[in-house]
């Protein structure tokens, strides 16, 4: 009965949700079984905080500013907002969070954004080539990403789907995902499994277990394979059976919107 009611709610809400909301909701769902999550700012923070309000209330949020077990009531604008420290179980210096907690192998899931991703889920957040005669376009840089991707149990990538972002060849490799195939992480001695999903506003890509190449495994409601292929800069492979993500539930949308509204209002 509850399921039927939920489905009805979901159907009501479905008319209204945006593609970004699909991305955010599915990113949150991907944290359902994690104990600890290393949270970058922006989309990853939205998703992780939504997960705490929906699928995983006990999820431990760890921010690179050194706040462990933060329980913010609204979305922080930066990874060092005061509420992250005020609501944390422990606040540690930045070197400690990287050495004892991240490198120490204590984080189940690392959540990363990206400017460019290639077919092996390698990531560029450093510079982009803007064409002949033009200077390289400057991006913010690595931040914590190279070591998050190396040391977390697994990595989720979240970014909007476009040919600018999903590229045949990265202009720079900031952060290794799967290198050039399934053996590169092992060869480099990386403790974690690396990227297990790229969650976009169109669907979800996952590395093929045999080749580590990103493959379309799920589509969001109303999205076609052709749309995803058109937004991907390489010949995207699809899984034998491409699934569909469940539409956001009313609860997911309500919590997501409340979070974002609270985040905006505090400025």
């Amino acid at each position: 009965m509850a399921d039927a009611a939920d489905a009805a709610h979901a159907a009501d809400a479905a008319a209204e949700f945006t593609r970004d909301e699909l991305m955010e909701v599915n990113a949150a769902r991907a944290l359902a079984r994690a104990r600890t999550c290393f949270v970058g700012i922006g989309l990853p923070s939205t998703a992780a905080n939504l997960a705490r309000r929906t699928v995983n209330p006990r999820l431990v949020l760890i921010y690179e500013s050194g706040t462990i077990g933060s329980k913010p009531t609204r979305l922080p604008l930066s990874i060092g907002d005061g509420e992250l420290a005020d609501t944390a179980d422990a606040v540690v210096p930045v070197p400690e969070v990287f050495n004892y907690w991240l490198q120490g192998g204590r984080i189940d899931v690392g959540f990363l954004g990206a400017a460019q991703v290639d077919r092996f889920a390698n990531v560029n957040t450093t510079v982009v080539d803007r064409g002949p005669g033009k200077p390289e376009g400057r991006l913010p840089g690595a931040g914590g990403a190279p070591e998050i991707a190396a040391n977390c149990g697994e990595v989720l990538l979240v970014l909007r789907h476009s040919t600018r972002g999903f590229v045949r060849r990265l202009d720079f490799v900031t952060t290794l995902g799967h290198g050039y195939g399934p053996h590169d992480r092992t060869r480099l001695g990386m403790p974690g499994r690396g990227p297990v999903a790229v969650i976009t506003d169109l669907g979800i890509l996952r590395p093929d277990p045999a080749t580590s190449e990103l493959t379309l495994t799920e589509l969001h409601p109303g999205v076609t394979v052709a749309q995803v292929r058109a937004a991907t800069g390489w010949e995207l492979r699809t899984a034998e059976r491409v699934g569909a993500t469940a539409p956001p539930t009313a609860e997911e949308l309500r919590e997501l919107r409340a979070l974002k509204a609270a985040g905006r209002s505090e400025a």
Partner: protein
């Protein structure tokens, strides 16, 4: 004693042309007031180190005082780009900006090595990343016990580290709490240390989560209430997120930036 010194005198005494300077503070406790004093005094040819350059270095870079930036993430947190930083890197305006670029883990460990007076630190990092190809401060070492190759990062020992803290006492003992960042390491790694504080008190009240830097590790303490704005000092102020958002259009435009600098930094204080 430190408490009788003005910010102008302390900056003039401790920060010199050509210095390597770290103004640290991870989102929290960023020493903006001291940075503005550096701008007013026109102290130039600086190598600036900071994990997150943030708006504070956008301002120093835009003011043309910086020849090199040592950093790991150069964005306006939650907002977008640092446009003065980008303009300097992409177009050399107002002067070219040399970069020594790291990951956060690498930068944090460079300060740790600096505070420990070791020439380098070891981490499991930079693997498969192109970062190591662009800097001479990342290398490798082999574990003598297991044979594993690990990343080595060169120690970072600033000529001067500048931090903002909540409180100090009259013996220059400095106390800060909340998001702790890498300030203790950056201060202990430096040859000289300048601290601005919200207030000077007779005795530091024991405070949960507080770090104390003993007075004998600090060269100058200057009371500058609100000296971290638009960053914040936990217990005294909140982050002015609206300022960070409003910075975007100001920094996008060279003339808008110059006008902002003239109005909000150069016309204030006593150095002009």
């Amino acid at each position: 004693m430190a408490e009788t010194r003005t910010l102008r005198d302390a900056v003039a005494e401790l920060v010199h042309d050509g210095d390597t300077v770290a103004l640290e503070g991870f989102t929290h406790l960023i020493p903006f007031a001291a940075a503005h004093e550096i701008i007013r005094q026109g102290i130039t040819d600086l190598t600036l180190a900071r994990m997150t350059p943030d708006v504070v270095y956008d301002q120093l870079i835009g003011a043309g005082l910086v020849k090199k930036l040592v950093f790991s993430w150069g964005g306006n947190p939650g907002v977008g780009s640092l446009h003065r930083f980008r303009d300097a890197v992409e177009n050399g305006w107002p002067r070219p900006l040399e970069l020594d670029e790291h990951s956060h883990a690498g930068m944090a460990n460079r300060y740790v090595a600096g505070a420990s007076k070791l020439p380098f630190a070891v981490l499991r990092g930079y693997r498969g990343s192109g970062l190591a190809t662009r800097t001479d401060t990342v290398s490798t070492v082999v574990c003598p016990f297991t044979g594993e190759e690990l990343a080595a990062v060169a120690a970072l020992n600033p000529d001067v580290t500048v931090i903002h803290a909540q409180r100090a006492d009259r013996d220059r003992n400095v106390q800060f709490w909340g998001v702790l960042g890498v300030q203790k390491e950056a201060a202990l790694a430096a040859r000289r240390v300048l601290v601005t504080v919200e207030e000077v008190v007779d005795e530091l009240p024991p405070t949960p989560g507080a770090v104390v830097l003993p007075g004998w590790t600090v060269d100058a303490v200057v009371p500058v209430p609100g000296g971290a704005h638009p960053s914040y000092a936990s217990g005294y102020s909140v982050r002015d997120n609206a300022f960070y958002r409003a910075w975007d259009p100001v920094a996008r435009d060279r003339e808008a930036f110059r006008a902002w600098l003239a109005e909000h930094v150069l016309s204030e204080g006593t150095a002009n």
